[in-house]
């Protein structure tokens, strides 16, 4: 390894973990950030601030965009309205149906932009941490969705009617009920919120882990593997840049899928028996 490279890296204060020794693969431990300070024994960490920040930004932007609504929209109002229209039409109206969608659009719309911003924090320089790579945050959101879609169904059909709708498949002979009803209950009531949360969490977690791996791995190669590493390390860093763009796509897609599935669950809870 060339001495100039060492000096450059030393000047920037970058050291690979365990540089000089074996390569430490990044793992879930990299996501346990230290708290800034403690409140009643609970550390307050970066993702908590990101949740609040995302809420403030989403509220602020759409408040500004809709504050002085005019017939001929300003540029800001146009941006806000087309963002709202996208969620309302492509998720709300197409999935829930033109009868009931307006009641659930505010929830879906807020959820989409809150998630989108929190996911984009993964790529914002200076923050670079996806909020939902902490599983508890994703579980909280999925729990909220669970309460909402079950509540909607119970209010419309009553508790017994709703359970019947969700667990008794139509067009099946009653002989199969003892087998199918517990399975449908398990899949529709118990597992749904878990997969909803895990999908979001695992995508954010795996994407961020991949970036950490390429960043620290490239540095390790440059520092420890001589001439081969000096060629391979920068290639790893170039790949990291390419993967960052793929991550932008994944971040958008996961926010969209989360909201789309929410809309589908609400639609399933509202559906009439057939």
């Amino acid at each position: 390894m060339s001495s100039t490279m060492t000096m450059v890296l030393a000047a920037t204060g970058i050291r690979a973990e365990g540089g000089g020794g074996a390569f430490e693969t990044p793992g879930p431990g990299n996501f346990d950030l230290p708290g800034f300070f403690e409140i009643a024994g609970t550390p307050v960490t970066k993702p908590m601030f990101q949740l609040v920040l995302a809420g403030v930004i989403v509220f602020g932007f759409f408040w500004l965009a809709s504050r002085r609504a005019t017939l001929v929209p300003s540029r800001l109002q146009f941006a806000g309205e087309s963002a709202y229209g996208m969620v309302r039409n492509s998720v709300g109206r197409d999935i829930i149906g033109s009868q009931d969608y307006l009641r659930y659009t505010p929830y879906l719309f807020t959820l989409f932009f809150f998630l989108l911003l929190n996911n984009f924090f993964s790529s914002v320089p200076g923050i670079q941490f996806p909020t939902f790579s902490r599983a508890s945050m994703a579980y909280a959101l999925a729990g909220l969705s669970w309460v909402i879609y079950n509540g909607v169904g119970i209010r419309k059909h009553g508790l017994i009617g709703y359970l019947k709708l969700q667990t008794v498949p139509s067009g099946v002979s009653p002989v199969m009920y003892p087998l199918l009803v517990p399975l449908e209950f398990f899949s529709n009531i118990l597992v749904r919120p878990v997969t909803l949360a895990l999908r979001l969490f695992a995508n954010m977690f795996a994407g961020h882990l991949l970036l950490i791996l390429f960043a620290t791995g490239g540095l390790y190669l440059i520092q420890n593997e001589g001439i081969v590493g000096l060629v391979a390390g920068p290639i790893a860093w170039l790949l990291m840049i390419a993967i960052s763009f793929l991550e932008l796509l994944v971040q958008f897609l996961q926010a969209y899928v989360f909201v789309l599935l929410n809309a589908m669950y609400i639609q399933g809870a509202l559906a009439d028996e057939h």
Binding site: G21, A22, F23, E24, T25, G27, P28, S90, D94, I95, T195, L198, R199, A202, N203, F205, A206, N224, E225, L253, Y256, V257, L260, L261, M264
Partner: protein, 70 residues
């Protein structure tokens, strides 16, 4: 060169083949559907993304288990 890590990740790589093929099939069907009938794109798109999300759930359960089991 020494690398420390978990052999679970090799198992996870093998387990991800299934969802990978599944997602490929879903988007192949989506593309050929749109090629035959371009005006159906908006309707097909949400179905394709839903199918993608469901197939992907398997890969995600895999990566969660790869970290949990040690």
């Amino acid at each position: 060169m020494a690398i420390n890590g978990s052999a679970n990740m090799i198992g996870y790589g093998l387990a991800a083949i299934g969802p990978g093929i599944g997602i490929g099939l879903i988007f192949a069907a989506y593309i050929s559907g749109v090629a035959r009938q371009p005006e159906a794109q908006s309707r097909l798109q949400s179905i394709a993304i839903l199918g993608f999300a469901l197939a992907e759930a398997l890969a995600i359960i895999g990566i969660a288990l790869a970290f949990v089991l040690s």
